[in-house]
């Protein structure tokens, strides 16, 4: 299995409901939702559903403001010791405006079918 590289950009809609509570008068996208975005991007690209199995070296470096354009760059390494449906995903989330880093980290994703089998 070869490594997979994915690049995807998102504009953060300023009308998202989450901004009402995070935070009133000073809206910032919750950093953890970048992790959810990483998972969703991989799921869309590979046409599979995933659970997050692990997170490491996760750093939030600057706030993502409403209307920001977030460019995700992902490197997926299939974990051969387990199953091709488990990926070690290194990611960087850039501010497309000036190429500065919003966040970076590493996420282990398990395909949902594999997770369900383990739980059974």
């Amino acid at each position: 299995m070869h490594d997979i590289q994915i690049s995807q950009s998102y504009t953060i809609d300023p009308t998202l409901e989450v901004f009402k509570g995070h935070f009133p008068g000073a809206p910032i996208l919750p950093g953890v939702l970048i992790l959810a975005l990483v998972k969703a991007t991989v799921a869309e690209q590979l046409n599979q559903s995933f659970n997050i199995n692990g997170v490491s070296n996760q750093k939030f470096l600057q706030p993502v403001l409403p209307g920001s354009e977030v460019k995700l760059e992902l490197k997926l390494k299939p974990l051969e010791s387990t199953d091709s449906d488990q990926y070690n995903v290194s990611y960087k989330a850039f501010n497309a405006k000036d190429s500065s880093l919003f966040a970076k980290g590493r996420v282990i994703l398990n395909s949902k079918s594999q997770t369900d089998e383990l739980a059974a």
Binding site: D13, K20, A36, V55
Partner: protein
């Protein structure tokens, strides 16, 4: 035991993104326990590309991590902004707690029906204004996630 009303005096999070209901401060140090109900997380994606990609239930791991961050923010805020005998919990708006990151997080076959979660937070170290803690998330005494969390206490400019 801090209620949500008291929690709101310590951290700036509000509905629909105030995820924790109660926090019990530990007897000593920056430790404590919080309660988090995934079912009570209101859907907060209204529109836009994010909504097309995932439903709120698809974000459960992120929400649990956020709940851990909010819990630790409350514990740090309650301990550093207020004295032991200060029951007012009046929030100092100039002080804020920023989520710096996570490490060594693992999820252990978290099942869909496991929605009522207890978060145990134990302080690991303080480095200047940075605070680090270990969290364990359990449901019915079954460990569903654990990891390290770092927050920084800062003072707003202006």
């Amino acid at each position: 035991m801090l209620t949500q009303a008291q929690i709101k005096q310590i951290i700036p999070h509000r509905a629909p993104f105030l995820l924790i209901d109660k926090v019990r401060l530990g007897d000593s140090g920056l430790n404590g326990t919080a309660e988090f109900d995934l079912n009570q997380c209101q859907p907060f994606w209204q529109a836009g590309p994010l909504n097309e990609l995932m439903s709120p239930t698809e974000q459960k791991e992120a929400l649990l991590l956020e709940a851990a961050a909010q819990s630790f923010g409350v514990i740090v805020g309650a301990s550093t902004e207020h004295s032991e005998h200060d029951d007012s919990l009046e929030h100092d708006d100039s002080v804020q707690h920023l989520l710096l990151g996570f490490d060594n997080v693992s999820f252990n076959n978290w099942q869909q029906q496991q929605t009522c979660i207890e978060l145990n937070i134990s302080h690991q170290g303080t480095f200047g204004q940075m605070f680090r803690a270990k969290f364990d998330a359990t449901c019915n005494d079954q460990l569903i996630a654990s990891g390290l969390i770092s927050v920084m206490q800062g003072v707003k400019e202006g």
